[in-house]
Symmetry: D2
Subunit: 307 residues, 4 copies
């Protein structure tokens, strides 16, 4: 049962990956009901195990929910969202509310909000798997009444009432989440530069101890620094066999693209993104040319690949 004074809600959840399952569990724990669907029957069974009502299809889920449907999508950003909405839309009307909790581009969310027969909330979700226990930070865009309707669910999925807020109209939730991720790239690189200098520098340091000392009272303490501390504890001060390739980059790319359009300089976000591209290149043509040019003007010996 929800906390006293809070109405019990019934939520449909479509998409039962790691993040979707967390949504199911947190909503159930808060005393609400969940109807769950995923293309994978195993995922549906997992959700049923913790108390969700299983659905066979999007249509079945919609039928089960009845009127005034409240539905949370947690499917991969991109075509999967459109495909799900295509299946879902015939069953929706203007009193229903759909939440997209995935990492969609804000412009796609604006477009979907216009096309959707229900009220549409774009919901940037941050916190990762750790949110299972702590709850997430939810940045929500869309109509105010729909946001208000969903508040009991947001209270359950977020870290609590302070962990979610309506940012503004359609798209603003995913817009703020996009910028959040741009900042995230920089924070990772900031700690990276600092610890690289410590690792390569003059002293033989225990980087876990450095991170722990910083996390206890220093200006730069943060959750990411706690994850650094954990990384050094689990991998060692030399990070063991962790490779130096950084995957990902789509939300950072979106952030830079939007900053170009707004003519806002974001050199650190750009640089952090470029660092990822560079980390994945086998070799860098620009460096090879510089190497060769030094021979051109100074007869400095050219390093060759066979050397």
């Amino acid at each position: 049962m929800p906390a006293s004074g809070v109405a019990r809600m019934q939520l449909g959840v479509i998409g039962l990956g790691r993040m979707g399952q967390i949504v199911v569990e947190r909503v159930l724990e808060a005393g609400h009901e969940v109807v769950a669907f995923d293309l994978s029957p195993e995922a549906v069974a997992t959700a049923a195990d913790v108390g969700a009502e299983p659905a066979d299809s999007v249509e079945d889920l919609a039928d089960t929910l009845g009127d005034d449907k409240r539905i949370w999508l947690m499917v991969p950003a991109g075509d999967a969202v459109d495909a799900t909405l295509n299946d879902l839309d015939p069953h929706l009307d203007e009193d229903d509310v759909v939440v997209d909790g995935g990492n969609s581009h804000f412009e796609a969310s604006v477009r979907r909000a216009e096309a959707c027969s229900a009220a549409y909330l774009d919901c940037g979700t941050s916190g990762g798997p750790a949110g299972a226990e702590l709850g997430f930070s939810l940045m929500v865009g869309g109509p105010e009444w729909a946001y208000d309707e969903m508040t009991p669910v947001f209270d359950a999925v977020a870290t609590g009432p302070a962990g979610h807020d309506r940012m503004g109209p359609a798209g603003s939730g995913h817009y703020v989440k996009m910028v959040h991720n741009g900042v995230e790239y920089v924070l990772m690189q900031a700690y990276g530069e600092g610890f690289e200098l410590l690792a390569e520098g003059r002293y033989d340091l225990d980087l876990e101890a450095v991170a722990r000392t910083w996390n206890n009272g220093a200006v730069i303490r943060s959750w990411l620094l706690e994850l650094c501390e954990e990384a050094f504890r689990e991998e060692g001060s030399d990070l063991g066999d962790v490779d130096d390739h950084i995957a990902g980059g789509s939300t950072g790319t979106w952030t830079v693209q939007e900053a170009l359009e707004q003519e806002v300089p974001v050199p650190l976000i750009y640089q952090s993104l470029a660092e990822r591209f560079g980390s994945r290149a086998e070799e860098r043509f620009s460096r090879r040319l510089a190497n060769r040019l030094r021979y051109g003007f100074g007869r400095h010996e050219v390093a060759r690949k066979d050397d």
Copy 2:
């Protein structure tokens, strides 16, 4: 009285500015004794008001402490440290311990540690005035026995036992603090770029609400983000009349200089430091030249200062 099982200590504190007073108070609150000196009699009186024994001079402070002196310097980095050590050194021997809790350059600390007749601990201190309540993060360099001796004091001044650690030999405390500050510059700029994009971007956002939502569960939550939240609460989403000049830069400059020497790339730290320099320039010569060059090759009209 200190916590049971912990010996009561007597600490000399030289330098009673904002940070020095916090050291005095936290050490007294932990049940230890303090003898306090500052060039300003008012500062000494303030320390006496909360229970410190006042000293008239460095000599007086040294005499009062007796054998096995434990002394904390909290004077401005630079010449003031050397001047204080000059006065103090005749009263010191190898059983004494001196802590430099200021923002000294690590190379100065190495030099001072060699010159000092007592054991010398360089102690990077982070947390700012907020440390009055929470305690600081203390990064300590120097002899192990001296660090162990001072542990009860460090426990009191830091956020607790996890808030201080011995980084390594002489200079390592200030070295780690220097790098800490380099990272700090980047974190500030990271949030700056993110909020600038939000402020200039497509949506009319309440930045305090954004920061608060992020601080509750988002990956980028941190103490600095809490300070952003506070800034928006106190100044408004548009930051009111806050100017765009950023003062300071010495520890960032040291970090970049050390990174140059170690040949470690720190583009984000450099960029964040350069941002400060740029923020203080009335105009930028490089931009004026670019403006004029566009006329040179493309006959684009030159913007003039009178325009």
Copy 3:
């Protein structure tokens, strides 16, 4: 008359701004014929003054040219190109050749090449007004036969046979020109940083003399450095009243966008572009936030706009 052995050609030129007039004059000087049209009758008259046959309309120009039309567009990039092609296309067939000598986006050129009834050459043009005497550098994309057909005209408009080349299929000419401009942004900023350091640095230098000495034998000599020399000669070592706002940025933005798509790091191009954005901002939100945060963690006084 063209050089012996070269067939005399008839070229239609649409768009008679500064660059279009240069095309007219160089083609006439090489002994070919020109039929010229522009929406401005004055521009047409100017072209007629130097020997071009005036046309009243796109249709008139097309009629005058007869079969196997050879037409050079020199209209502003964007809608004007599409509008001109709309008027022109009914008069074109597959034996005709249209050259777009403007600064179009390469994707627009690919699209136009597909839609155009004639063979379509996208031609990146560099050199600016100085090209009136020296000739331009022409980077051409499109069908090989059409490029070969136009060679006499390209010889005339370019610095000579070495000043033009076929880069590859449709779009490649404007693609290479786009990257050219990205590099151009960096070169301007490179000299800008160097001269700014000299202007602000330890010595009182005559920057025209510095530039002239460099232009005579130094590794960094270039045409842009000659333009720096000219700028210092005409404006003085302090650049007089030249303002520090840098206009423009579209081709640099395209370059960065393409580099994002190709996942190629271009930190210098990005930084040079961001410098332009920054130069046009009245104030920078990121710097204002950093200013305020320094108060938050260190009680450093906040500079206010009224101060």
Copy 4:
């Protein structure tokens, strides 16, 4: 014999590496006399072959020159300059002139100018081995009379009278050369980014043809771009087996250090220098940490070195 009206001079040259031999040859070709010394007898013999008078030692060279000595040092920057000056100084007086044509730090030149018994000219030399035919660009610092005295020699060694100039007092020649090199790093990186984008981009391009077309009339034409053209001609558009390690970096480091001291932002120079450091690192700790952190907050799989 020198050009009519120019006095025949006698120049001592110490240091007969590649650059020193070019000085010898150009000064001899201009009709002056040369007395040459190097620690390597083979190098002395090479100079004698083209007409220089060989010297056995610094002392021998000084004796041969007689009064009003004019001496050009072309020894490696650093200790070798001081060692040579130590040997030379007992033979010098205030009517003599010593030129340091090497890549010395400007502060060392200021110090040496103060210590030297003769007039001392610091002479930044740019142009590399190609200067053998074309002559160099010479940036000279030191007393005006000494610069005037040496003019016939500078005319011979430089590209001509426009290829050398007095920048200002002691140190200014090497200061301007230091900044020249900072700019040089950026220009190399600028072309590097451009050609990397072309090499990795949408079209299959002949980069030699691109560079050649640009060198004929484009805004970004330069001597370094001619060297790019040469590199692609000799190595192929893919740069064959040229490795991506970039050696060197001392003058770039000096430039950034000076810019830090002057608080002048030089993000492109810094970035270009950092690119060299990065190109020489086996792996980057910052990237390894970012890789691991993505697991920390998002459970993204960690790439391991063995994978």
